[in-house]
Amino acid sequence: MGAAVAVVVVSSQTPGAAATRATEARVAALAQSLRALAALGAEAPRLEAELATASRQRCGSGERPPVLPCLLLLAQEVCASRPAAARASCVAAADVMLVNLRSANDWVDEATRVRLVRGAADYHRALLEELSARYAALAAELVLEESSLLAELALERAPASPLGAPSAPARASVPTVQPAVLDRFCSRRDHRIRPPRCNAPSATCVPSLSWQRCVAALAWFVTQEPAVVVPAPRSTSTVPADHSPAGEPP
């Protein structure tokens, strides 16, 4: 008995186990953020604008991205002003928005930003529209690879896995992309050759992205662009509802 416990303890401390736990934690965080953004609905753009305005005023603006500790503190203050029942959702949604705020300059080249400043009455709104076009290009990459990623995930996971099979029944008003797929897609995206940066104004140029910036962009796009529907896979197994990743009902 003691030896079996020792084996379990040792196996849980191996690098593979640590990586698995890390993956599960990331997927859970992604799922929470996706649900929060979907639940906010029309309130999400207002929250995003509030964070962006406060960030410009307090955390620096311009060429350099806002300072991270300042942004975290800012988001905590904004969410603390929300009702207690909505604070958790606010934090989860703001998590995505903060990453997008910091990554905006990497998405949109300087020439385009200058053009928006000169030509648009509301720079932030115009920047969001420009970012939306670029997020769409990234979403198109995800759509192209989703089926292969789902098959890969299905092969890796046993039916009794706590995370469940990727093809789970979804609830209404939930995002149309699965967190596990997002996680896998964004963690491997840079393994292929990607341009380090987009120097030319092009809505189809998606540069090399770190994991959190990739998932944040896709999470925002998927929840805020209802016209885009990522085709949900067929459900192949029964999954506990409280652990099921988000997904559209077939």
């Binding site: 993956t23 991270l68 910091r102 963690s187 380090p196």
Partner: protein
Amino acid sequence: MIGVRSLAVAILATATLALCVGAGLLRWGALGELSAVTCVLLGAVAAAAVGLVGHGSLSGASRVALDLRRLQLVFSVIDVRRGEVLPALELPGWALRGLLALTFVTIGISTVGNHGVERLRTLGAGSPPTGRCKDPAAPAATPEPDEAEAPAPPPVDQAGCALVRRAFALGYSKSLGTCAPRAAVAPKATAAAAAPEPPEPCERRHVDEPFLHFAWRRWAELADRIASVRPVADTSELAQEVGAKLAWVDALTATSAHALGATPHASHHLWISLPAPRDEGISWLQQPAHRRCEERYVHLPLWRRWQPGQESALVEHALGQLLFAARFGTTTACSNYRLHWGAPPDACERLIREPESFLREQGAWREVAGVLDRRRRGLELRALAAELGRPLPPEPPPASAVVSLQCVVVEASRAPAVGGQVVMVAGQRVGVRHLVLPKIRLTQDGPIEVVARLAELLAGAQPQGASPEPLATTGAAPGSAPSPSASPGATADGASPAAPGQDPALLDGAGFPLARLEVLESADPFSGARWPLLREDLAEIYPTQRVLLPFIEGFRRRYLAQRGRL
């Protein structure tokens, strides 16, 4: 007896020559000043004149001869005893033609000369032809369309309306409706009334040019081409050039041999004390030449996990990322690189102490010597071009740019060190750099450490924002002076201090798990922030490309500036 024909030709030639020389019309010194055009013209005229004069009249014996004893002309001499007419003595035909040619040439030189030929060449310059092959001067040559007098085009019937027209004709329909013929659009006049076309260059006889003028103009063009020929001067220059080249014949033949023999344009060697990363015992860089090494790097993975025993594969992967992976920008030619696995532990010392002997022993001498010889021949060709007064070809890069020798020794008992020296190989200065590592770590920040150290080996230390944990740099042999302590960025327990401005504590705070990962954006492991690499939970999402790209770009800028190709 001498025939009158020969006598006359000889007297004519002699008299002409004497008269011209006596009158001062012909100077011997002027013969060397004749231009090529004059020589050609006089020769042509003389040949034509000889042909005309001598046609049919220079063969056979003359009927009248001069009796030299009695100095009287006789019509024929009959040999009574034999009963035959004795022929008069005549000069051979070629001698007669030569004397006639000499006569005409003398006349030509005396009367025309260079001055006259030049005047003849520009004879028609005062009244050049129009220069056109066609004559657009006559208005009637290209009649323009007159819109007022042109008849109206007939109406065009609509297709598929035959039944409708038939019905209309029979009275069943009151109108043709859409099938009514439409008036055809009259063709518009072309833009002939626009500005006249510019004259085309015409190489034929011009429309208003007399035939004789055309012939003379073509001759003048030929003379212009001939006038640029300087046979004597050109021959002299050619002889001088050949003489100069003969002095450098070794360099010329060796250069051709290098080109034909495909001598490499550069040769860079790296000796590594680790075993080869492949089971077959040879590195992919040592595989047969028909397999292009560039093909391997098309699919070189960005990063990967390493298993125990893959130290050599890690080193090879790091070299590929640094030098040959196309995703990071401009690459070097991998065909000029050779990895020598399983190098002896004293490889670095021997490279410095006895480089030529070591290169021969390792089978690298032929390549290195070939490249250095090719460079030396390039310098010699520059000297030859300078001697001939021609534009100098580009100077070959320094020997240390086209040939480099590196060695990596992995030995636990030795302290880490990196350094370099200059040695003489085949009479030229070549750099030798060495890197000593106690161990190759495969996990955490071990791969990044390998990349950083190999970059330092190949291109030297970074000039700005350098790694805060540089190895001991020494100019002496790596085994002679032990270096101080190991790199602080690669401690055995993996604990590395975070660089200023990147607080690892931000990563583990409450809430905002995605935003907290933004701290990785500015955590550059090559500047000392190794702590993200020590965390297993960040291994899958670590922004490897975003971290490697600026480092490798900077490395390649420094490295490629130090390297060159012949």
